[in-house]
Subunit: 124 residues, 2 copies
DNA sequence: CAGGATCCAGCCTGATACTG
DNA sequence: CAGTATCAGGCTGGATCCTG
């Protein structure tokens, strides 16, 4: 590891250098499943475990649990467990989580609309 | 794999289901290093290999090569090699890549400004 | 319904060496 | 300078089975 220039001058100094808090959050948010889980919640809060599994198509139970726990620890997602039988648990966005999805959803939307073009490769 | 509801009704139908083009692009763009490489280029185009390695702090040569190749195949990054000795290669964003970073950079910027708060965890 | 525990394959990384 | 090739090792993620 070397002393290095931050990724961008528009970001705070020391942003996105290896091992710094910024990078850790980036890795959480940009992980394989977090964007899909966050976007699902942004679209339809609150959601239950089973519904989240359906929306984040292809996710395993392990990864859903891991992703949700991390997002909950990060204060981006709130978990509400109602003490009934059978269990009833609801997941929703915190206000911080909502701020995040306000930036994330437009990005995903752009990707959705341009995916075909992108996979077609460079113009020539 | 099951027939499932798309992640969000605001996206085109069939968006972000497992194995669809949208998901593939998502995985490219949200991979571990692509966001940092794209943001670096958005901040200072064009950039050379060595400078990219410095900005995407912690990236290995293998991962830089892999990330750049994939972004180039996707038509998001352009590679310009000038036939001189020693070699001089410049990387820059395509117009599509610039569209992408227009959405990506605000997201990274938000993360940079909120990282400390996020890692502090939920309010209580 | 909502997870926890476990095992295994594959990817990423790091180090090193080599090329045009 | 700008990469490519190779190999060992750790960690991530996926599949499966089990539980309150």
């Amino acid at each position: 590891m070397t002393v290095s220039t931050p990724v961008s001058a528009v970001f705070p100094d020391q942003a996105f250098t290896a091992g710094c808090p910024t990078r850790e959050v980036l890795d959480h948010v940009m992980s394989r499943w977090a964007p899909l889980v966050l976007a699902s919640l942004a679209d339809a809060e609150p959601l239950r475990w089973t519904e989240l599994r359906r929306r984040a198509d292809g996710i395993s139970e392990k990864m859903l649990a891991q992703t949700l726990k991390r997002l909950e620890r990060d204060g981006l997602v709130r978990r509400d467990a109602k003490p009934v039988v059978p269990p009833h648990v609801e997941y929703s966005l915190t206000s911080t989580g909502r701020e995040l999805t306000d930036h994330l959803v437009p990005l995903l939307s752009w990707i959705a609309h341009n995916a075909e073009t992108i996979l077609a490769g460079p113009p020539a």
